[in-house]
Symmetry: C2
Subunit: 169 residues, 2 copies
């Protein structure tokens, strides 16, 4: 059994960071389209998207927000975190095959309300920033290390074809 | 065949809005956990979550960001929109069974770069604001009405049980 240990307000240091690298797949885009309802053909239709300024399908901007938020919820501070606000600036498109490294770095602590401010970035395989912003959270006071929960299996079927298991790259 | 008609910069009026109401299901939470990687037990484990300040599982904050972004991508301005930035303040928790009405309202137009600023809100069934913020987009110059793309079918299986089709409420 894996546990998910949090970082309490008192443990967290300025400059501390957490990161994850994600290689974007078509299934990531499709799943984000379904969960968000954003079925704009710029994300789902290769022929339409080839005629846009991006010359092909692109990932939803807010997917980057979702990945940033997962770093806060799972790693820093992790369990017990209360998410207060987030800003995001979308700098460059993200597409299939891109490898994006998302990072959250503690830049400020406010002792009165145990608030932590984190700088958030996503950088692609060419070292270019695709997204940046700032997260504000209330960090947990209490040390927690809950058991990692069971995660459902998700499958995707296209055009009446067989269901294929979704595997995160 | 359905088409998705956009609103061009010139067509868009201050005060114009688009909205969608979503009734939150457990499958919505599970799917957002999988797509984002945020598998914090506050979202997935009823027993753990019953011991938190929210007394049960809650939806990921950034899910609200995803729904807001879908309004921009599909309805206002819709196809051809370039997403520049988003701020979000998470005001109250969202849980299973909540009915959240998300709305984006045009508050400003900047002619030089065809930029549109939209106020974004999510209000629950009790009239309480759960999220608010601001989106900045570059609106399309050109009128577009692409065919709505085929959307993959997604299924979710829990604990080795059967795969159940994901149906958005």
């Amino acid at each position: 059994m894996t546990t998910m240990e949090n970082r309490t307000y008192d443990e967290i240091a300025i400059g501390e960071s957490a990161e994850v690298t994600r290689e974007v797949t078509r299934a990531d885009i499709e799943l984000f389209a379904v969960v968000s309802g954003d079925v704009n053909p710029a994300h789902l239709d290769d022929v339409y998207a080839s005629g846009t300024r991006f010359k092909g399908v692109i990932m939803h901007g807010m997917w980057s927000g979702a990945i940033v938020s997962s770093l806060l919820g799972v790693h820093l501070p992790g369990p017990g975190t209360i998410y207060l606000s987030q800003s995001l600036a979308f700098k460059r498109p993200v597409t299939i095959g891109d490898r994006i490294t998302f990072k959250v770095t503690v830049k400020e602590k406010r002792d009165d309300k145990k608030i932590v401010v984190l700088e958030c970035t996503g950088v692609n395989q060419d070292g270019k920033t695709v997204v940046d912003g700032e997260a504000v959270v209330m960090a947990p006071s209490e040390k927690l290390a809950p058991t990692a929960p069971a995660v459902p299996q998700v499958s995707i079927a296209r055009d009446g074809g067989p269901a294929v298991a979704y595997v995160r790259k």
